[in-house]
């Protein structure tokens, strides 16, 4: 057999091997390229004498195009992003994980397949459509139900983000629960555990890491979402005092303003700094998650 292999096929195989290797590391290359690009565009402004990092993080005054007194304070935008994400998670985590438990442990046969298809369908709705729903459906509903002036607020965006991140949580959470060996279930039932005890005492501790990953992916989805929150938050620079206040998020600010900021201008650089800030937030979220998971493992 070996003699029949031509030089061409040997080199061909080598070439394909390399091609596959390049594909394999391409993800790493892209991530670093994106890092490099965003930092290159934003970082030069950090050393600009007109720029103060302290004010950038703590001032609530965002006036990037002022004619007389330009101020780049992002605190209100950070508060907007965190409040919307936080409220979204308060809604999404119980529903998402509850749905994952239901689909994985209580459903059988046709109902389960049906539910899975519907949940996947929910994930396939484009974010601009969610935004449109927020603007035209949720806005008047929130106005009448809670008797508030404007329905475009934290609650509106948070409900949309919750609905957008639930499908991710359900499918990953369900996988995590499925990965728990059946012997755990059998053992628990053999010991006379009720269904509640089985889930609460045996399955959830065993699937903790996977469930945490599911929640964090949901958080990531919510922090990074742009179009829906741009439309549903009311887009007002404002530190919220209640869930009925309009806010503006970091992502929506970049989306709304980058188109105009001319390349290399201070406004343009500051928008990239906001990009770095978003990077940092997701990085911290991932890091915390890592530590939490490790902590769970060590116990």
């Amino acid at each position: 057999m070996t003699s029949s292999r031509s030089a061409l096929s040997i080199y061909g195989e080598k070439a394909i091997e390399w091609l596959i290797r390049i594909c394999g590391v391409s993800a790493i290359i892209f991530v670093f390229a994106i890092f490099f690009f965003v930092f290159r565009e934003g970082a030069p402004f950090l050393t600009d004498e007109k720029f103060s990092l302290w004010k950038f993080l703590t001032s609530t005054e965002w006036y990037p195009t002022s004619m007389s007194n330009i101020r780049y304070g992002t605190f209100a935008l950070i508060a907007g992003t965190l409040s919307v994400t936080g409220v979204a998670m308060l809604i999404a985590v119980p529903f998402g994980l509850g749905a994952a438990i239901f689909v994985s442990e209580f459903c059988t046969g046709k109902l389960r397949e049906f539910l899975k298809v519907i949940i996947e369908l929910l994930a396939a709705i484009p974010s601009i459509v969610w935004g449109f729903i927020g603007l035209t459906v949720m806005n008047p509903v929130i106005q009448t139900v809670f008797n508030v002036q404007v329905g475009l607020n934290v609650l509106n965006a948070a409900i949309l983000l919750a609905l957008m991140s639930i499908p991710v949580m359900v499918s990953i959470g369900e996988d995590a629960l499925k990965a728990v060996p059946d012997s755990y279930r059998e053992a628990a039932i053999a010991l006379g555990a009720t269904r509640w005890q089985l889930i609460w005492r045996a399955l959830l501790p065993a699937a903790k890491n996977g469930l945490l990953a599911a929640v964090l992916l949901g958080v990531g989805r919510a922090v990074g979402e742009t179009m829906a929150v741009l439309m549903a938050t009311g887009h007002a620079v404002n530190v919220p005092h209640s869930i009925f206040d309009s806010v503006r998020t970091l992502t929506a600010t970049i989306a709304a303003e980058l188109g105009e900021a001319s390349e290399g201008s201070p406004h343009y650089r500051v928008l990239f700094l906001i990009g770095i800030l978003l990077f940092t937030i997701t990085f911290i979220v991932n890091l915390v998650a890592d530590f939490v998971v490790k902590g769970i493992k060590n116990k």
Binding site: I20, C23, G24, S26, T60, E61, W62, Y63, P64, T65, S66, M67, S68, N69, A76, L135, N139, P140, Q143, Q149, V150, G151, L152, L230, M231, G234, H235, A236, V237, N238, S246, R248, A256, E257, G259, E260, A261, S262
Partner: protein
């Protein structure tokens, strides 16, 4: 398998983005049709769309592709050379003009004045207010302004919601710049916390669904769900309704010219298109769409 899929997707996206560039230059010369990229002002986008559709019957070979985004987007496209015609509801700033001229090797983009837009002040139909002055608007909108409740203006809201909900625009909008110049004051800034909508239509929609809201947008966006308030220069003077007549004789205080800019690199069809726009048929469409035409084409009887 996954990797192959990724590379395939990547290749596809590269090819697609390449195509996109080609179209932006308009260099797809395979057939006779010529496409003009018309980008910019959100105030003008309805009008630009109506022109583009009507022009198809005038010269079927030319297809005009209209997109909005705001005057700032149009000006950026002009400077970057990615459009044939840039729409703007404000004049080019000196700095922008210089940038564009530098980009085209010393040649200036040509400016065409193509009509006017009256900036209307919109409120909810249930709001009893009928007149407002520029001074009052400034107090509502500017940073440090005194008015934050309808009762400050002497208006009693039937809904009982006294707080003024301010609808404004994102800061790349020509309408935003004009409003700052004409109402808030060039040296002042907007009061923070306004709802900064991404388009003229969104402002009107928000005002239409919020009883205590006030907003500004081009008169072309008037719908039955909102009420237009008369505007006066000073408190106490009689308010003026935004119409073609009051805009052209300048008694309506917040109206502005609309412009189209053509970069030197644009195809000759762009100038021909604009020549049609400033002629009778083009200006009739201006009136039909609710904007204000050039003086020479204003209806005489009004």
């Amino acid at each position: 398998m996954k990797h192959i899929l990724t590379t395939a997707l990547l290749a596809a996206s590269l090819v697609l983005s390449g195509c996109g560039k080609k179209n932006a230059d308009g260099s797809s010369k395979k057939d006779d049709s010529i496409s003009l990229q018309n980008i910019g002002s959100d105030t003008m986008v309805n009008l630009a769309q109506a022109w583009a559709e009507a022009y198809h019957n005038v010269d079927p070979k030319v297809s005009v592709e209209v997109s909005g985004g705001g005057s700032g987007i149009g000006v950026a496209a002009l400077i970057n050379g990615t459009c044939d015609i840039a729409n703007s509801s404000r004049k080019l700033e000196k700095e922008e003009e210089e940038k564009a001229t530098a980009k085209y090797g010393g040649k200036h983009p040509t400016e065409h004045h193509i009509g006017y837009d009256a900036l209307a002040i919109y409120v909810h139909p249930s709001n009893p207010i009928t007149e407002i002055s520029i001074e009052q608007l400034a107090e509502i909108y500017k940073e440090g302004g005194k008015f934050s409740k309808w009762s400050d203006l002497g208006v009693t809201m039937p809904s009982g919601q006294d707080e003024i909900v301010r609808a404004s625009r994102q800061n790349n909008s020509g309408t935003y710049h004009y409003f700052r110049e004409a109402v808030v004051g060039k040296k002042n800034d907007f009061k923070q916390g306004s709802r900064d909508m991404n388009g003229s239509k969104e402002v009107v929609d928000l005002v239409g669904t919020t009883p205590s809201a006030i907003g500004f947008s081009g008169i072309g966006y008037h719908t039955s769900k909102v009420k237009v308030v008369k505007v006066s220069k000073k408190t106490g003077e009689p308010g003026v309704e935004p119409t073609i007549k009051t805009t052209l004789d300048k008694t309506y205080p917040i109206a502005r010219p609309m412009f189209m800019y053509v970069p030197p690199s644009a195809k000759p069809e762009a100038e021909k298109y604009i020549a049609w726009i400033v002629s009778e048929p083009g200006q009739k469409i201006v009136i039909k769409e609710g904007y204000v035409p050039l003086e020479a084409f204003a209806p005489k009887d009004k």
